[in-house]
Symmetry: C2
Subunit: 177 residues, 2 copies
């Protein structure tokens, strides 16, 4: 991404102190998404990262990952697959429980959402500590797709979420703090 | 929409009996969204309904409404605004509590998400009894935009959700059961 676009995007991300808990500086993308021009810049930058790779499915993590993920699927002529909280998907699922700072969380995917012919991007809005994406990656990997790419709009590099993944996992972020 | 496209879309919607509760036939759009060609047909049909109307914001209702809503925003060069469950939006919000079959539910929108210069589409995946969309409509209307359109992919017409709205409210659905 060129510097002008990067600065344009950063200028519409809202910093919210102490959300969701005290001491956390939350990078709020709603002020970017509501700006039609900024939404287009993000969408076209995402597309440019993955054009020509034969991507067949984009998996979005509930619920903020549905926004960029579904636009990216549309742009790449791929299908969109929601990865959801427990009990929300109506057909047969596989699930994964993972540790969070306090307690655990669980995510689910339909068993028929991904198969071994797929080339998949898993998308979420922000990479923080990485626990949710690690669980998502393991769920998708269990369906044996040909290839998995991981994508974020924002990466909070000081939280070192990348360290949860092997070096050969392809992880790309548009904006790094 | 031409009949061929309509039949193509209907053929990839999965009917799930007794979800989320016994006696309900759930129209599952995940099997449509994961089909890149079907996702494109839906997206382009949505776009064709609202092209040339000067739409500036598309509001998607958490979380399934984020999928079609964000693609539609992208296609119309509009911004995307998430309408979320309580406690998820980090800045100042207004909220609305509404009745459901059992108990109540609440949705929120950022106070700065919509203003009086906006022309807005509120999008959700399915119109059932209409309670959620009615609350969403009142929330958006309280921000005094120039115009509000309401859109669904699927309308379950036998549940008569349209009756909650005045006749002058513009409600469009792609697929009616």
């Amino acid at each position: 991404m060129n510097n002008q676009d990067l600065e344009r995007l950063k200028s519409v991300i809202r910093d919210v102190p102490d959300f969701p808990t005290k001491g956390v500086l939350f990078r709020d993308l709603t002020t970017l998404f509501k700006d039609g021009e900024a939404l287009h810049i993000v969408s076209d930058e995402l597309k440019s990262l993955y054009t020509g790779l034969g991507v067949t499915k984009v998996v979005g993590i509930e619920s903020r990952g549905f926004i960029g993920g579904s636009i990216l699927a549309y742009e790449l002529n791929a299908g969109f697959v929601p990865l959801r909280k427990p009990g929300k998907l109506p057909a047969e699922t596989i699930k994964k429980t993972y540790n969070k700072e306090y307690g655990t969380d669980t995510i689910e995917i339909h068993t028929d959402a991904i198969d071994e012919n797929d080339i998949v991007i898993i998308h979420d809005d922000v990479l923080a500590t990485g626990g949710t994406m690690e669980a998502a990656y393991e769920l998708v990997k269990s369906r044996n797709p040909k290839k998995i790419y991981i994508n974020f709009i924002i990466e909070l590099s000081f939280l070192e979420g990348r360290k949860l993944f092997n070096d050969d996992v392809d992880i790309k972020s548009l904006i790094i703090y």
